[in-house]
């Protein structure tokens, strides 16, 4: 594929994405406002006492006294200018709040993704090579077990083993508070905290990829071109890597593309169990507090990320399998 068609493809997709994002915002906006209760009533509930002027004042301050259509129109206008608004409760810009938390989520889901992809493909490939042997049975059982186990339970067990019994790793948080670490030491410190949640999140997907890779490789291995390659005298290792694995990767990438998007939103549970300060919990807390601005901001950012991941997936297809053309 050349530079020009690729550029045109990406541009077209980007335009479609913009339209889609605004459609998503509108749908989210209506959905969020459909939930009973509003930030003023939540805040009055928290204050332990309230009076009508106080509530009216809050609603006016948040712009909630205007008709819904006006609110939506104003919001769309602000988003178009790159302004996600202010959080009602925290009185801080939403964009800043999301950026603070997005990196934590990306570190977590990114690590989990890497663990899942590489671990899964390696295990799947190994299992496919050793069909019928003990190691294949072991991998299959492990993959099935991880696939079937609820994610929070895996988390709790990892905590029980590594935090409570062995006392090797901390059970919550993202860094050691008050240690004032910088550079490499800070990275090692975060890694320390990252290991358990990333494993918890990654193990489930690793099982998915292992099963997928194994099945796809077995299917490809029985095809004629593999036999031809072997007949030509291509070394077995090369047959496995180049002829079988590469062709078996397409379904894996499809699933990975879908899951990359899910990882952003799907980490709420792990973020909660491990007190990881990510975007999933930001959204959850905002939902409970009816902090519409934060909620809409998070939805916006995650939907953009999903669209971007889809685009990357499509581009990857073409790179892995030249027969697929970007159109």
């Amino acid at each position: 594929m050349g530079g020009a068609p690729l550029f045109r493809f990406v541009l077209q997709r980007a335009l479609k994405m913009v339209v889609m994002v605004f459609a998503i915002i509108t749908a989210n906006f209506l959905l969020v406002h459909a939930a009973p209760g509003d930030p003023a009533s939540v805040m009055a509930g928290e204050a332990g006492a309230a009076d009508p002027q106080f509530m009216a004042q809050l609603r006016a301050q948040f712009g909630l006294d205007k008709p819904l259509s006006t609110q939506l129109w104003l919001y769309l206008g602000h988003v178009a200018q790159g302004d996600l608004g202010m959080s009602y409760r925290q009185q801080r810009p939403v964009a800043g709040l999301i950026m603070e938390r997005l990196s934590a989520t990306l570190i977590l889901t990114g690590s989990a993704f890497v663990i899942a992809i590489f671990g899964g493909i390696a295990l799947g490939a190994l299992a496919a090579r050793k069909v019928g042997r003990f190691s294949e049975t072991l991998i299959t059982i492990l993959a099935l077990g991880l696939y079937a186990t609820p994610i929070f339970w895996v988390g709790l067990m990892l905590v029980l083993i590594f935090s409570v019994w062995l006392d090797w790793l901390p059970s919550f948080g993202m860094n050691t508070v008050g240690a004032d670490l910088t550079g490499f030491a800070a990275a090692v410190d975060t890694l320390h905290y990252l290991l358990l949640p990333a494993l918890t999140l990654g193990l489930f997907y690793m099982a998915v990829y292992a099963r997928l890779t194994r099945a796809a490789m077995l299917e490809v291995a029985s095809q004629d071109f593999v036999r031809t390659a072997r007949a030509k005298g291509v070394p077995e290792g090369r047959v496995q890597r180049h002829h079988i694995l590469r062709n078996a990767l397409l379904p894996v990438i499809t699933v990975a593309g879908i899951q990359a998007g899910q990882l952003i939103g799907g980490s709420i549970l792990v973020e909660t169990v491990f007190a990881w300060p990510g975007i999933g919990r930001l959204a959850f807390d905002a939902l409970l507090a009816r902090d519409y601005q934060i909620l809409l901001g998070v939805f916006l950012v995650t939907s953009v990320l999903v669209l971007v991941f889809n685009l990357i997936t499509d581009l990857l297809y073409a790179w892995i399998d030249p027969r697929v053309e970007v159109m």
Binding site: G37, S41, G45, G48, A49, R92, V159, D167
Partner: protein, 539 residues
């Protein structure tokens, strides 16, 4: 050091119960009621504890949620705090006098009090906090401070508040959670809610704000120019945000945190922490808040307006079961509308009919609510309180015990936002609610029962109960400056309310404060863990 002596004197008053025999510097530990041998205070160390849910902002007044109070009381202080029996104790006010007509309150302030930015705290800050800041922000303080005719500062360390009418419970409005003293030079003339300094709060407390990573932790460090020499003892206090209750329990169990408070630990986890040798479980420290939990009843919904129906529901519920099986022995069975730890509680007047399902069924028969073929007399809806596991269990128990007398209860779940909205809109049949009493029935009980406070807003008389006699009694108690007159009115009100049951009171709540035995002095006043921690230490 005269200042220290005066503080020590205040502590003597506090300590009178448990420590009467010990004098001198020992008192500075203020371990008022601890049974363990005295430990000398030690400087240094970091206290790591938990905060949940995460507060939106750490400025008292701008937000007064429970978690905000826990953390912000280390940064901000009030004029006073309260002993377990609700006597005012000095904090930023060194002493005070009340005129004989009950209309003039004169506060003498502590010397050398500085805000964290170095500005001295003076009478101007106090007057600003009372007359402007909390008057605008706090729905709780506003109606009470509106009674202040004039606030003056004869000198920088004296505040005189002149009331329109005497108001006996006035002194209960001055702790940090009710009226935190905030810096005038930062807030005056600004929009208090959106002031940028709210992100980096500045108070007079023993700990100053350092850093807040949202969703992760709040970090405070020792304020070196704190007004009590030598205090605080701790170098740092760190609040970790841990949203999952089992993760919190684990953090406490493994020693990753040294203190949990409020609803950090679910009641069903408390027994195992009682058994853990390095931890101590305390239940005191909630006397000021004195939260009373009840079945919230909407009197507009038939047949809940019928007094006999409410009496039957009352007899269908076993409060011992609720306390022992749901709350695992934490808290106390309710005996009426006023908590036993609140002033003017009258054990002779507050008597509820005991648990008796048979009698309850008979009462319903008598009132004409006959069971149909399936044994159901009528069906009511019930909205559980969305504040955690134990409240869901309570509502399930409510359903079971009402089924036993032939009332079908349908549970309808709502999250916190929907719950507050529906209670405020009177859009419910029954629910569960709990309210703080703030030491005096006029401050925290009256609001739920007088007809003048039937409003479309949470924490008013949302049930719509009307009784002119009750209105009259609460008004008498509010307006009188004579404790005896007030007691008489409150006693009669308790008697009538126990008969008419506008709400079905269940439990006087207490919250477990669980801490490492190395941590000393956590619970010393009726403010419990909502105190400033200036003399808390690790040793």
């Amino acid at each position: 050091m005269p200042k220290l002596t005066r503080r020590a004197l205040a502590r003597t008053g506090l300590a009178a119960g448990g420590w009467a025999g010990i004098g001198g510097p020992m008192l500075t530990s203020r371990l008022a009621y601890a049974q363990t041998p005295a430990v000398a205070p030690k400087k240094g160390g970091t206290l790591t504890t938990i905060l949940t849910p995460e507060p939106p902002v750490l400025v008292l007044g701008v937000n007064n949620q429970g978690p905000t109070q826990l953390a912000a009381t280390k940064i901000f202080q009030g004029l006073c705090q309260y002993s377990f029996d609700l006597k005012p104790l000095p904090q930023l006010a060194k002493s005070w006098t009340i005129s004989d007509d009950g209309k003039t309150y004169t506060f003498k302030l502590q010397e050398n009090v500085k805000f964290h930015d170095g500005h001295p705290m003076t009478a101007d800050d106090v007057i600003f906090s009372i007359m402007k800041f909390h008057m605008e922000l706090s729905p709780r303080a506003k109606p009470i401070f509106a009674n202040i005719k004039e606030a003056t500062a004869p000198d920088p360390l004296t505040v005189v508040l002149q009331l329109e009418r005497p108001f006996e419970p006035f002194m209960l409005m001055f702790d940090a959670t009710a009226c935190a003293i905030v810096p005038k030079h930062i807030y005056d003339g600004t929009d208090y809610r959106t002031n940028p300094q709210n992100q980096k709060p500045i108070g007079t407390g023993p700990f100053q704000f350092v850093e807040w990573q949202r969703g992760n932790f709040i970090r405070m460090k020792r304020f070196d120019r704190y007004w009590t020499t030598g205090e605080p003892y701790l170098d740092e206090v760190i609040y970790r945000i841990i949203p999952d209750s089992q993760s919190r329990a684990l953090a406490l169990q493994t020693g990753q945190v040294q203190l949990t408070q409020a609803n950090d630990i679910e009641p069903f986890d408390v027994p195992r922490f009682r058994a853990q040798p390095n931890l101590e479980v305390e239940l005191k420290g909630w006397e000021y808040a004195s939260q009373l939990a009840w079945i919230e009843i909407n009197h507009r919904v038939k047949p809940l307006g019928d007094i006999k129906v409410r009496q039957a529901i009352n007899m269908a519920i076993d409060r011992n079961f609720i306390r022992d099986r749901l709350w695992f022995g934490i808290g106390k069975q309710a005996t009426g509308p006023i908590c036993s730890t609140t002033k003017f509680y009258d054990p002779a007047a507050a008597k509820l009919a005991p648990h008796d399902p048979k009698k309850a069924a008979a009462l319903l028969d008598e009132a004409g609510y006959k069971p149909d073929a399936k044994g159901v007399r009528f069906t009511i809806k019930h909205m559980p309180l969305p504040y955690g596991e134990v409240w869901t269990r309570l509502s399930e128990y409510f359903r079971t015990s009402l089924k036993a007398i032939g009332i079908e209860v349908v549970l309808e779940t709502a999250d916190a936002g929907a719950w507050a909205r529906r209670i405020g809109d009177w859009d419910y049949e029954t629910s569960v609610n709990f309210l703080s009493q703030y030491g005096d029935p006029t401050l925290g009980v009256e609001r739920s029962y007088v007809s003048t406070n039937i409003k479309k807003i949470t924490f008013t008389n949302t049930g719509g109960y009307v009784n002119p006699k009750i209105d009259e009694l609460f008004t008498t108690a509010r307006e009188s400056s004579e404790p005896a007159v007030r007691q008489k009115a409150f006693s009669e009100a308790q008697k009538i309310l126990c008969e008419e049951l506008p709400q079905i009171w269940l439990l006087e709540l207490a919250w477990p404060t669980i801490h490492d035995k190395k941590l000393h002095g956590v619970i010393q006043t009726a403010m419990g863990p909502n105190s400033s921690f200036d003399n808390v230490f690790l040793a």
